[in-house]
């Protein structure tokens, strides 16, 4: 078995920890793989639920991504485990989007109040929390109305911080198509939110 530590830079303690877990998982240690699941399931779910705005389907997609990662542990070639898992999750989310197109179910459901997850470090002032929850609800509703391709490109660019060429490679389209999807998506979002922009000012 390839020793991942010898081929990668172990300076970053997070990467070093992840590589050790991957190596243990490759030698059959399920607990090590599940430690990775515990470490990354929230951030991966946050990525996928933005692309597939349905909690159950997003959970299914992330679960499928972890299955795929477990099956393909041997194909991991070093580097960032988080990036590797992110890419698998993006593929799983796009599969889910395609499946939704083939077999349309009900439109994206409204989320109940207790379904929202404030980010770590967000303030505890009840008034600000209420405003942020309202903003998040409005953004989620608008995002669910733009196309899957536009939403995916915007999430990968604005939230995940990938650049245009990385998104083009991940989604299998040209650089120009990625830019076009992002720009059209932004303009569509603004049109959808034009009468609610006050919510985001001040």
């Amino acid at each position: 078995m390839e020793d991942l530590r010898s081929t990668t830079v172990p300076d970053d303690p997070v990467q070093r920890r992840d590589l050790i877990l991957i190596e243990r998982a490759r030698s059959g240690d399920l607990d090590a793989f599940n430690d990775l699941v515990i470490l990354y399931q929230d951030s991966l779910f946050a990525l996928v639920v933005r692309m597939v705005p349905d909690r159950d389907q997003a959970s299914d997609a992330v679960q499928e991504a972890f299955f795929s990662a477990y099956r393909n542990l041997t194909s991991f070639r070093g580097g960032s485990v988080k990036s590797w898992l992110n890419r698998i999750c993006v593929n799983a989310a796009m599969d889910t989007q395609r499946a939704r197109k083939r077999r349309p179910v009900q439109p994206y459901p409204e989320l109940e109040d207790e379904a929202w997850q404030p980010r770590a470090g967000d303030e505890v002032d009840p008034e600000r929390i209420a405003v942020q929850a309202e903003r998040s609800r409005a953004i989620a509703a608008a995002m669910s109305q733009i196309t899957d391709d536009q939403r995916t490109a915007i999430v990968l660019y604005d939230v995940e911080g990938y650049d245009y060429s990385e998104i083009a490679e991940m989604t299998g389209v040209s650089l120009g198509t990625v830019k076009s999807r992002i720009h059209r998506g932004r303009l569509a979002l603004r049109d959808l939110m034009s009468d609610r922009m006050e919510l985001f000012r001040g």
Binding site: S59, Y70, R119, I139, R184, R186, L189, M197
Partner: protein
């Protein structure tokens, strides 16, 4: 002072491009509506980044049973993929094979003497003792067309391959449908 009525002609796309690091269009400096659009797009970009996401609905750790299922042999994994939402191939393939098989059987069942062409096609014309369908009379006079393959086969005493081929395609289609059903039952796909 800019003409506000001209905003409709301004390039909204270029303003959106500026959010992603593109050059700022000159209209942002001269047209209040373009400036407002730019500001709104920047605000929305920040709002998308800051938006909370819904909570995860379940723990995604792998159980021992699932892990051992994922480590199965390749053909079992392949079987496991058939009929799942990721499988976009087996159903259209099964439908195509079955459809082609049925069409072939129907063609076989149609009596040989019946004209098969549409209104636009020419009627069969006798030429050198053989029937040639779909050829115009003008072309008949100049180009001697070969006899249809079926007639040649019949003359040579060879069997028509269409029924066998159709039954083969139909069988493959039915087998694919059965495989999907078995795979979905084995894998517990809804």
């Amino acid at each position: 002072m800019a003409d506000h009525g001209s905003h409709a002609r301004h390039d909204r796309f270029a303003i959106a491009d500026a959010i992603g690091g593109g050059a700022l269009p000159a209209t942002i400096g001269t047209c209040p509506a373009c400036r407002a659009l730019h500001l709104d797009l920047l605000t929305l970009q920040g709002a998308v980044r800051a938006a909370w996401v819904p909570r995860r609905t379940r723990d995604l750790r792998l159980t021992l049973a699932v892990a051992s299922r994922l480590q199965r042999r390749h053909w079992r994994r392949l079987l496991g993929m058939i009929g799942t939402p990721r499988d976009a191939l087996s159903r259209p393939l099964a439908l195509s094979f079955t459809g082609l098989g049925l069409a072939g059987l129907l063609l076989t069942a149609v009596p040989a003497g019946l004209p098969m062409g549409t209104a636009g096609a020419a009627a069969p014309v006798e030429l050198n003792g053989a029937y040639v369908a779909g050829a115009s009379t003008a072309s008949m006079s100049t180009i001697p067309a070969p006899a249809p393959a079926t007639d040649i086969r019949e003359e040579a005493g060879l069997p028509n391959p269409l029924p066998g081929l159709s039954i083969g395609l139909l069988t493959i289609g039915a087998a694919l449908f059965t495989l999907r059903r078995v795979a979905r039952r084995v894998e517990g796909v809804r």
